[in-house]
Structure formats: structure tokens, C-alpha cells
């Protein structure tokens, strides 16, 4: 974990320096990097519940949508400034996760996955029916064309989430989450209040996700249910985290960087069916060949790409 922390500090320095970039970039690159910061934040947030605690949430996109709608409602109907609307979104995400988490986080495996998937789809259907939220036709927000502001906002959310993860990884709370992931009964025997730790982890995850959702809403200035509750966001969070290394500190950001770079190379601006086919193929390769992600190779836990280790791991997972 020591090497992981050093990598995290390195990543934070690089990201801090990237705050100087916007004046030197054209609009397209500002857009691409803002999107990369956003996806990294979402993956970092997913990593807290899915990577550390081992609860694979397919419902994290719910908090993205709720954050986006909370921000849109506060700015559009209540005429709040962005800063307070943003705070509302963070609180709304965390509170929703806490309320849903108490019953849902008692479930495990398939049941947890299906329940969270159900929440994501159900929340999208619910929001699409609520008149104050514009029903299915979406909501508009005040237009802010200072795109550098969104670049810095998303960058700030990402750096905060990495710093938070680095702090959690070496705290009693972080150890509790890892213990829960490895063996929940044993963790409980050690005196860990598993329910409280899991709910807290999901709330933190939801707070970051809600923050990203709020910023996204203000950035695009128009949101509707299919966009902000898009399950593909959730799948991308998971696959970015797995590619980098679930349960590591900056693995999710590394995974997001690689997938974003590939997407950019393939021309992410025009989402073609072939682009999606390549994404699917990458997921298959990552799941089969790199179940622990890339991080172990970088932190020295696995020294080099080792064909024998890969064979042993494949033997253990197949029938």
C-alpha cells in the first residue's frame, strides 16, 4: 500500500499541474479532459463501495442522476446559485445512499447487484413521472459558457476523491471495509460494525457521484432522465475501476485514463456501433486476463507480466 500511496501523491501533483493547462488548450481538449475528470471521479467513487467494501453496485448512476436533478431543480425552480445547488446535490446523494443502504446493503452477491440495478431503473422511471422535475422532457439550467470553470470543478472533485481514498486506505475505516470484503462474518467477530461501515462508504461514494452529477448538469445546461440515469455510466465506472485495480487508491483514475484515451483514439465524438463493439471486447479481455487490474504491476506487488501467474489465475477461475 506504501507504493500505492506514493503513486497517489504523484497523481495528485500531476493533476494539480494540469490546472494550469486550460488557457493553452483548444475547446475540444478542454471538453475531453473535463469528461475524463468526471469519469475518473465516478470510478473513484465506485471504488469506495465496490473496490474497498466489495459490494458491486449497479446503482451508483442513481446518485449521478439525483445529483444532476437536485442541482437543476435548485437552480431552475429555486434560483439558487450554483455553489449551494452543488451542496444540495452532494447532500441529496449521500442521504439517498444512507436511506437505501440500510436495507439494501444487507443483501449480497446477485441480490445486491439486482437490487441496485432495480433502484437505478426505478429511479429513472420515477423521475420521468414527476411534474416538478419536468417529467420525461428534462430540465434546463442557466447557461454558463465558461468551460474552464467546469474543467476546474471536475478536476477539484477528482482530486478531492483521490485524496479522500488515500486517507481512507490507511485509516481504521478503510481496514474495516477491506475486512468486510474479505470475510464479513470474521470482520463482525473482530468488532467491526459492518452495517455502519458499508452505509458510510456508500454515502461517501454517493456524495462524490452526486457532486459530479451536479457539475455535469450545469455544464451541459440540459438534462433528461435517459442521459443522467444512463446505465452505461455505471458500467464504465466499474470497468474503469477493474482495469486500473479495484481496491487500489488511484487505479480507477488510471483505468479511466486508458479507456478515455482509447475512446478518443477511436473517435468518441461519434459513438458508432463499432466503437461499442471494441468497448465490449476490452471488457471481455479485462475480465478474463486482468481481474486484479493494472495497479499490482505498478506498485510492485506483481513484478512483471508473468505468464505462469496468469495461467495459474486462469486455472483457478475456470471450470
Amino acid at each position: 500500500m506504501q507504493a500505492g500511496r506514493r503513486l497517489a501523491y504523484g497523481a495528485l501533483v500531476v493533476l494539480a499541474l494540469s490546472a494550469l493547462l486550460p488557457p493553452h488548450l483548444n475547446g475540444n481538449w478542454v471538453h475531453v479532459l473535463t469528461l475524463f475528470f468526471m469519469m475518473s471521479s465516478l470510478a473513484q467513487a465506485w471504488n469506495l463501495i465496490g473496490g474497498f467494501a466489495g459490494y458491486a453496485s449497479f446503482g451508483n448512476v442513481t446518485f449521478f442522476g439525483v445529483g444532476a436533478y437536485a442541482c437543476a431543480y435548485a437552480m431552475n425552480a429555486l434560483h439558487w446559485p450554483f455553489a449551494t445547488a452543488f451542496l444540495l446535490a452532494v447532500v441529496a446523494g449521500a442521504a439517498l445512499a444512507a436511506v437505501l443502504g440500510w436495507p439494501i446493503l444487507r443483501l449480497r452477491g446477485h441480490y445486491f447487484a439486482i437490487a441496485t440495478l432495480g433502484i437505478a431503473i426505478g429511479m429513472q422511471a420515477l423521475v420521468a413521472e414527476l411534474p416538478p422535475l419536468g417529467k420525461g422532457s428534462g430540465m434546463t439550467l442557466p447557461i454558463n459558457s465558461n468551460f474552464h470553470f467546469f474543467y476546474w470543478s471536475m478536476l477539484g472533485i477528482l482530486m478531492a476523491s483521490i485524496a479522500l481514498t488515500a486517507f481512507i486506505a490507511q485509516s481504521r475505516f478503510g481496514y474495516a471495509l477491506v475486512a468486510i470484503r474479505e470475510n464479513e462474518e470474521a470482520a463482525a467477530v473482530l468488532g467491526i460494525n459492518a452495517a455502519r461501515a458499508k452505509v458510510f462508504a456508500w454515502s461517501l461514494s454517493a456524495a462524490i457521484t452526486g457532486a459530479a452529477g451536479a457539475t455535469y448538469a450545469y455544464w451541459t445546461s440540459f438534462i433528461d432522465p435517459p442521459t443522467v440515469f444512463d446505465l452505461n455510466f455505471n458500467v464504465l465506472m466499474i470497468i474503469m475501476t477493474l482495469l486500473g485495480g479495484a481496491g487500489s487508491i488511484v487505479g480507477p483514475t488510471l483505468g479511466a485514463f486508458i479507456l478515455s484515451a482509447i475512446g478518443e483514439y477511436l473517435g468518441a465524438q461519434s459513438v458508432s456501433p463499432w466503437h461499442t463493439v471494441v468497448l465490449g471486447a476490452i471488457i471481455v479481455l479485462v475480465v478474463v486476463l486482468l481481474p486484479r487490474g493494472l495497479m499490482p504491476y505498478l506498485t510492485g506487488n506483481l513484478r512483471a507480466f508473468n505468464l505462469n501467474a496468469l495461467r495459474a489465475q486462469l486455472r483457478a477461475s475456470r471450470v
Binding site: G50, G54, A56, F58, P103, I104, R106, L107, G109, H110, Y111, A113, I114, A115, L117, G118, I119, I121, G122, A125, L126, A128, E129, K135, G136, V235, I238, I239, L242, P273, W274, T276, V277, L279, G280, A281, I283, V284, V287, V288, P291, L314, A316, S317, R318, V319
Partner: protein
Amino acid sequence: MNVINIAHGAFIMLGAYTSYWLFVGPMHLDPFLSIPLAMIVMFVLAYLIQRFIVNQVIRAPMLATFLLTFALSIIIANVAQIYWSSDIRSITTAYSGSSITFGAITIPWVRLWTLVIAIVMTLGLQTFMTHSKIGRAIRATSMDVDAARLSGVGVGHIYALTFGIGGALAAAAGSLVSVSYAITPNMGDSFVVRAFVVSVLGGLGNVTGALVGGLVYGVIESFGALIFGEGYKDVVALAVLLLVILFRPYGLVGRATA
């Protein structure tokens, strides 16, 4: 079998397209008659997918198979879109418009036959699972892979066979819906979540439970739409899903085990 197959919807879509191409092709095969062909095609495809891809990660955490089948599903749907375009297609047979009337209730013939075939298939699957040697092997593998292997069950083959049967049934479902619904490369999406809800309502791993789950779900969805309005039917259905998972995780008709 502890594999959540997100690609189930894609299999349904492929089944529907198989029936479509056989219907518009030179054979002009009736969609109800093309069911066995669609089932054979999809059985083989699903068997190969499980044998050579999904079996590689079957012992890894559940997330691995979940993501893998998701990836397969987007690959299949997008390849279908590339080759068959996203045009909406439909099958119109000579008897599409005819229906049968019981008093105040009118039921299209195609829907009635769909119901009959679904019931026959469910009962057939139930019999197969409880009385055949392969069915016993499938249940044994699902309970304990290692114990099944030690008892001489070829678990790799059994996993693939089970996935193949699932694929064949999805294909049958696809052929059946092709006569009532529009056929598009993304048509499967709306069926996957419903298939989950129905399976959970019936109890995972419970064959006849799935039929009960399907009926209960259909009634809840329709009444939810009637009481709260059409747009709320998904909300109601998913709220029911959450309640069942929390309070009766073994399904509406199942019994708690271990």
C-alpha cells in the same frame, strides 16, 4: 447456476431475428414453426459462448460473469445493428389480426398460443430438470461444483449445456414475441430487467416459480399502470422487486433453505 446473464436480452433479440429472416426468406416459414430452428441455433451459440468464454471466469467473483455477459450483450446488439441496421421490423402473418372472444374479453390468437407454448415449455423444463440425468447433474453442479465434479459430472460441459438451454429458451421467447412486438437490435433491453424481476419473484433456480413470477409480475405491472398511471408501471414493478428481495429472497412460492 449463479450466473447472471445480461446477454439474455440479446439472445431473445437473435431468436426474434432468426424467426424474422425465416419468415421473409424464400421458405416463408411461419414464426411458430421456426421456434425449434431458432432454439437449435441459439443453443449452439450459447453453448459455445459459455464453454469458451464464460467458463473461464466462472469461479471468479460474481462481478466478473456479470460484466462479461454485459460485454457480450453490447457486442451482439451492436454487431446486429451493423449488419441488420436499426430499422424496426415486424412479422405480419395471415392470422395476425384474428382473435377469440370470451364474453367481454378479446384475446388475439397469437397471444393465446404464446401463453400455451410458454406453459408447455416451462412444464417440459421442470420435468427435464427433475427427472433426467442431465437435469440432476445441472442441479448438483449448481449446489456444489466440486462435489459434482468428484461424482463424475463434467461440470464444464454441464455449465455450457445449462447456458445453451437458457439460450434456446430465450430464442423461443424471441420467436414468440416477434409476432406481437417490433423487432430491433435493442429490443432485448426491456426484457432483461423483466426477466430478472420475474426470476426473483419466482425464486432464483425455481423453474415453476418463474411461471408464477411471470404471471404475478404481469398482473402487478398492469394494475400498477391502471392505478398510478401508465408511466408508473416500471416504478411499481421495481418497488415490488425490492420488497421481494428484502423480505422473501427465496421467491414468492419458494421455501427458505440453509
